[in-house]
């Protein structure tokens, strides 16, 4: 990694590229799309310096396929995209979930649906990030709200992906992606990097999808002599297809359980002023920044309001949310969509708690004043 001064002005998308390099990513395959293109641009400059590979593929489907192939070949790999490209990648994201291929997908959200508003921020892919590909599948979605955090969470995305062999999506809006901020990047040597488990032991009788105690099967390193088989069909521990109900139930159950049993290790959130809060704001991305300002201002006028900022959107920090819901009387969910995250919050709140939203899908960020006005209205 090239030496950089610690304190610097850095754009969100470029911070993402630098985080990926720091995490050990050595292949980027993509198809540039606004507002994510700077991730690709920076990767095209950084990867050759670390003997990595940058490939611009013919489209998003092919780029996701190249990421999977490369990862199966033993290289930490990623792609970056936005709405229309994210839709195209879903097929192979599902393949990655089922075949347990570690990969990181950056989705910089713009106005949708369809081509929508390429240059405008939005947060409309909350549910697509969780359920964009078909069938029950494990997936992790992390969501940064600052340039510094894009760097950190991109590293974490690789670590989680390698540890659990699941696709990990880094989801942020155009406003954060294009923000240039003063950041202090950590010393690369101080960054904790996790690598995947490699298969060891006798090659004879090796089962590529036999999980260890932690529910994660080690991966066969190409060239180590293990025979393996990879397919998008539901498969047994051997890697070969099955439709036997009891077997399907076991293998799919294990896939889903990789997330469920590790929720405590995966879920992350940040709380501000929550200890005595009667009103709770739950927000992510640029909206979390507006909310932080609004909460601070509301506190100055004596309103007992706090902020919960999920850093993992999926799995959503469910236990903490339930605990806070038992303490507050109102939960406010501002988001730049017609109401997506609020569905998850409503599910986790008892009937005694009122849940309301602030929703915008006009291409403008929700500004702090809007959140503050709503907090004041609720507190009356």
């Amino acid at each position: 990694m090239s030496q950089m001064p610690q304190r610097q002005s850095l754009q969100g998308n470029q911070a993402c590229a630098l985080g990926a390099i720091a995490a050990g990513c050595r292949l980027f395959a993509g198809y540039p799309i606004t507002p994510s293109s700077e991730v690709a641009e920076r990767m095209s400059k950084e990867l050759p310096r670390v003997e990595g590979v940058f490939v611009q593929m013919e489209d998003e489907i092919a780029s996701m396929a190249a990421v999977l192939g490369s990862s199966m070949g033993g290289v930490k790999s990623m792609t970056a995209t936005s709405g229309p490209g994210f839709s195209l990648k879903q097929e192979h994201i599902g393949y990655a979930a089922l075949a347990e291929v570690p990969c990181v997908i950056i989705n910089v959200m713009r106005g949708g649906p369809s081509t929508g508003m390429p240059t405008r921020p939005a947060q409309g892919d909350v549910m697509q990030a969780r359920w964009g590909t078909h069938g029950d599948h494990p997936i992790i979605v992390v969501t940064p709200s600052s340039v510094q955090e894009i760097y950190q969470l991109t590293i974490r995305a690789f670590n989680l992906s390698e540890t659990y062999r699941v696709p990990v999506i880094v989801l942020y809006d155009e406003a954060i992606g294009h923000l240039v901020d003063t950041v202090e990047l950590p010393d690369p040597d101080s960054i904790e990097i996790q690598d995947r488990k490699w298969a060891s032991g006798p090659a004879e009788g090796y089962l590529p999808y036999a999980a260890d105690e932690d529910g994660v099967p080690p991966m066969p390193r190409p060239g180590d002599g293990y025979r393996t088989h990879t397919t998008g069909l539901t498969h047994l521990e051997t890697g070969f297809p099955t439709q036997v109900p009891a077997d399907v139930s076991r293998v799919i159950g294990r896939l889903l359980d990789k997330i469920e049993r590790n929720r405590d290790a995966i879920e992350q959130y940040e709380l501000t002023n929550c200890d005595d809060a009667e009103i709770l704001v739950v927000a992510f991305g640029i909206t979390a920044r507006s909310s932080e300002r609004a909460v601070n201002l509301a506190r100055e006028s004596g309103i007992k309001v706090g902020l919960m900022r999920p850093l993992t959107l999926w799995p959503f920090p469910e236990r903490k949310m339930k605990e806070l819901a038992g303490q507050v009387r109102h939960v406010l969910v501002p988001e730049m969509n017609a109401g997506q995250l609020i569905l998850e919050i409503e599910r986790l709140c008892p009937d005694s708690v009122t849940v309301s939203g602030i929703n915008r899908f006009d291409g403008l960020p929700i500004d702090p004043g809007e959140v503050l006005d709503k907090i004041k209205e609720i507190s009356k």
Partner: protein, 184 residues
């Protein structure tokens, strides 16, 4: 992680506005580099539109001591306007007692309100230096003299760091000429 302290918003917000092609992104970057070298924290955002030339353009700086709670501009302390058509994008955002700097030719009808407007010959000064395109840098010099947000020496050093060598002299002349429009 549990952050307890309610931190009061300190600092100021600057907007450089005009039309695409006037170099406002670059001058925003120069000013940010100067303020950052003074130890401040600067969040920069730009209008981001498919039009690269001729459309309305803005470059915003939110300047704080630590990381800003909200990094986008909401209430401007300092505003530069280099094109009449760019005035409306700051409607309702100019703070009381803000300093508004406009080009006296390009903005014949400056905003009015509870703030101080300075109309200066920014583009004319750039032309007298031999290049209309340094209006952005002339404006920066005038702005820091009016706003007193960083020293001329700090800004000059930042400009020198950012500018390719062959344009350094021109930009340094421009920033000084702008500064002297106010301070001489």
């Amino acid at each position: 992680m549990n952050k307890k302290a309610t931190k009061k918003f300190r600092g100021f917000e600057i907007r450089l506005s005009g039309t695409g092609g006037q170099g406002l992104g670059l001058s925003g970057k120069m000013l940010a580099a100067a303020l950052t070298s003074d130890g401040l924290h600067v969040a920069q955002s730009q209008s981001y539109e498919p039009t690269s030339r001729g459309g309305m353009s803005r470059s915003d700086l939110v300047v704080t001591e630590g990381i800003a709670d909200y990094p986008l501009a909401t209430a401007l302390d300092y505003l530069l306007i280099l094109d009449q058509r760019a005035m409306s994008i700051s409607d309702g955002m100019i703070k009381k007692d803000a300093i508004v700097l406009v080009d006296e030719e390009l903005v014949p009808d400056p905003p009015t309100g509870d703030f101080k407007v300075h109309a200066l010959p920014l583009s004319k000064t750039a032309i007298s230096l031999g290049n209309l395109r340094v209006t952005n840098v002339v404006s920066l010099g005038a702005l820091i003299a009016l706003a007193n947000i960083c020293s001329l020496a700090t800004l000059e050093a930042a400009i020198e760091r950012i500018t390719p060598k062959k344009y350094a002299r021109m930009n340094l002349d421009a920033v000084r000429a702008g500064y002297e429009l106010v301070s001489s």
